[in-house]
């Protein structure tokens, strides 16, 4: 099937015009994800004056180290979590999403007696509070050292390039959620266009189903990228979301969104072809939309779900797109994301071809 890009772009222009006049469309595509971001950001964003969790591993277990801990506690700025000397502190911090930690070494009292001792401060450099907290701890140690005979040095150690905060976990999920706009809109557009014979009218211009679908995917790519940019800006400015992704990472995110939109627009088209009635379309839409929204890791981590829900989750394509976004955005692990992008790309092409074939055949009958 040969594609005429000029016709496709002409339709894209018409579709954008139509969309811009639809208040509900703009609400669902652009504002709803931002509203979710505001809700989750407010709950998990940490913009309030709550205490910072500080993981403490006291290897010295002495009176002096006890004094250090009491001084830290007395600032009222920290919630101290004691970590057993047998555990690896950095692993503990990553696993428990704790951004700050200190190790008081086993020779701490001994070192101080000879005039000089060290405490290691582990922090997440991407956390905007790290530097000020480090200064607070340094100040405490200076006072304790001055009271005694020696000096306590704080050695700053970055734990990892990025330890995500709770609110950071919602960003990939919400970006995944914006991809679902394609599926949701198609379920309403396709029966409506079929029932009102608008597809037939469009076909008189020579516009093929492939050209129409291509225009729709490009439209949703534009609108989703816009929506995601707004999400990232709102998240960063108001809730301190950490979007520290390399240029290559951003390219892979855009590619993943494009592949995701091909997949979800095609699924929406196939679902929309099942009926011409808006009521039935709404039912089909809900049956597809809600499991994807709740079981793919948009709002809740899949790991906390019971086994049978995890099985359902594993067959939902959105799960894999959110996994790709998690790998890139939370862990900067492009090596892990790349093979999954390729698999999902192949899946998207297959389902796209099938949707175009089904739509063209439906038109013939």
């Amino acid at each position: 099937m040969i594609m005429n890009l000029k016709r496709s772009l002409a339709y894209l222009r018409l579709h954008v015009t139509s969309f811009m006049r639809s208040k509900s469309g703009i609400f669902f595509v652009v504002l709803l994800p931002v509203i979710f971001m505001i809700i989750f950001g407010s709950i998990f964003g940490g913009t309030s004056t709550q205490k910072t969790t500080l993981a403490v591993q006291d290897m010295d277990q002495s009176t002096v180290s006890g004094n250090v801990l009491s001084a830290i506690n007395s600032t009222g700025l920290f919630t101290v979590q004691m970590v057993s000397p047998a555990q690896n502190l950095t692993n503990y911090m990553v696993y428990n999403s704790v951004d700050q930690g200190i190790i008081i070494p086993s020779n701490f009292t001994q070192g101080l007696a000879s005039g000089k001792s060290y405490i290691s401060y582990y922090s997440n450099p991407s956390d905007p509070y790290s530097q000020s907290l480090s200064l607070v701890i340094q100040n405490i140690l200076f006072k304790i050292g001055s009271n005694g005979t020696g000096t306590i040095y704080l050695s700053n150690i970055p734990v990892a390039q990025n330890i995500p905060k709770s609110v950071d976990y919602y960003l990939p999920g919400l970006i995944g959620f914006t991809m679902l706009n394609g599926i949701f809109s198609m379920i309403y557009i396709v029966p409506n266009y079929t029932e009102k014979k608008i597809f037939r009218q469009l076909s008189f211009t020579g516009l093929t189903k492939l050209e129409w679908l291509f225009a729709v995917v490009i439209f949703y790519l534009g609108i989703t990228l816009l929506s995601d940019a707004v999400l990232i800006i709102v998240g960063s400015v108001f809730f301190g979301i950490n979007f520290a992704v390399s240029g290559l990472g951003v390219s892979l995110i855009v590619l993943s969104i494009f592949i995701g939109l091909i997949t979800f627009v095609s699924i929406g088209l196939l679902a929309g072809l099942l009926t011409r009635k808006e009521e039935t379309a709404s039912l089909i839409g809900n049956v597809i939309f809600f499991p994807m929204m709740f079981l793919s890791g948009v709002f809740f981590p899949i790991s906390i779900m019971p086994g049978y829900l995890q099985t359902i989750s594993s067959v939902l394509p959105l799960t894999y797109f959110i996994k790709i976004l998690d790998d890139i955005m939370l862990f900067n692990n492009l090596t892990l994301a790349l093979p999954l992008i390729i698999y999902m790309g192949i899946f998207a092409l297959v389902i796209f071809a099938f949707a175009v074939y089904a739509a063209a055949n439906k038109n013939e009958s």
Partner: protein, 303 residues
């Protein structure tokens, strides 16, 4: 004039049912040709086969010398289509719709001029959903004309419109003819076919039962004019005894006559018998009379 549409023994079956049953017809360049018949007669199926929307079961068809299915792409720029129940995207305005058509078809049509031609210039920025039925049909006509096509297929262009809007659409169609375009029209309105068409075909149960200019159809199927008489006396029995073809309708007696001489014979005869007539009229056989006799019904929704 060159034949731009030719159909030979066209058949279309749907699960064994024949919607079109061996139609033969042709349309010459510059003609307005109407396919007239009730709903379900096969009009839309025939026109959709000509437009390349449906496949034929058998038979020969040619539009501008091309096969509508095999040459759909080539024909899309040379034919214009106004389908039955024309519809478009709800919040798109006429000017946006026509510009979209122009871009897709690569035509050089002046969109503003086209809007003026169909009397829609004042409504150019009105969303489709806020337009009246007549305005929507006129937009459909403009969209069909936007590629400057050689043939226009108009499938029931005035169905469901009020009398004023119908006449409005008719004037647009007549202007199309004046620009030399060929128009293939389907309708179930007799007055529409009679007013607009150069030639008409009556279609019933997928078959053409009569074809020609409206005058030709009346002449070819002429069974005689009628004298319509109204009287207090039982003139029906008298005329029946005398061997006339008589029927009664709405309190009148209608007598089929061969010519005007026979009209005067009947009037004189009744005068001789001292029968008083309260009303005497002569009615020439019309296209509607022929249609009713050949096709047998018109649709309930006829205005």
């Amino acid at each position: 004039m060159e034949k731009v549409i030719e159909i030979g023994n066209l058949v279309k079956e749907y699960r064994g049912l024949r919607a079109v049953d061996g139609i033969d017809l042709y349309v010459k360049e510059g003609e307005i040709y109407s396919l007239l018949g009730p709903n379900g007669a096969g009009k839309t199926t025939t026109v959709e086969i000509l437009e390349g929307i449906r496949r034929k079961t058998s038979g020969e068809i040619s539009v501008l010398g091309l096969d509508p299915i095999k040459n759909k792409k080539d024909l899309s720029r040379r034919i214009g289509i106004l389908p039955q129940d024309f519809n478009f995207m709800a919040n798109i305005t006429p000017i946006e719709a026509l510009k979209f058509y122009k871009r897709c078809l690569g035509s050089k049509t002046d969109v503003i001029q086209l809007l003026k031609e169909v009397d829609l210039y004042d409504k150019r920025d009105t969303p489709f959903e806020n337009m009246s039925g007549g305005q929507k049909q006129k937009l459909g006509l403009a969209m069909a004309m936007s590629s400057e096509p050689q043939i226009l297929f108009l499938d029931e262009p005035t169905a469901g419109l009020d009398p004023f809007s119908r006449r409005n659409v008719w004037s647009v169609i007549q202007r199309m003819k004046e620009t030399g375009r060929t128009v293939f029209l389907t309708t179930h309105y007799l007055d529409e076919a009679e007013k607009l068409s150069d030639r008409v075909a009556f279609i019933k149960d997928g078959k053409i039962v009569s074809e020609g200019s409206p005058d030709e159809i009346v002449r070819l199927n002429h069974r005689g004019d009628r004298v319509i008489l109204r009287s207090e006396s039982d003139i029906m029995s008298i005329l029946e005894i005398l061997g006339y073809d008589v029927s009664s309708e709405n309190g009148t007696v209608q007598v089929v006559i061969k010519d005007s001489t026979e009209f005067f014979e009947i009037v004189d005869l009744l005068k001789e018998k001292k029968i008083e007539l309260t009303d005497v009229t002569m009615k020439r056989e019309s296209l509607e009379d022929v249609f009713m006799r050949l096709v047998g019904k018109v649709d309930d929704n006829e205005p």
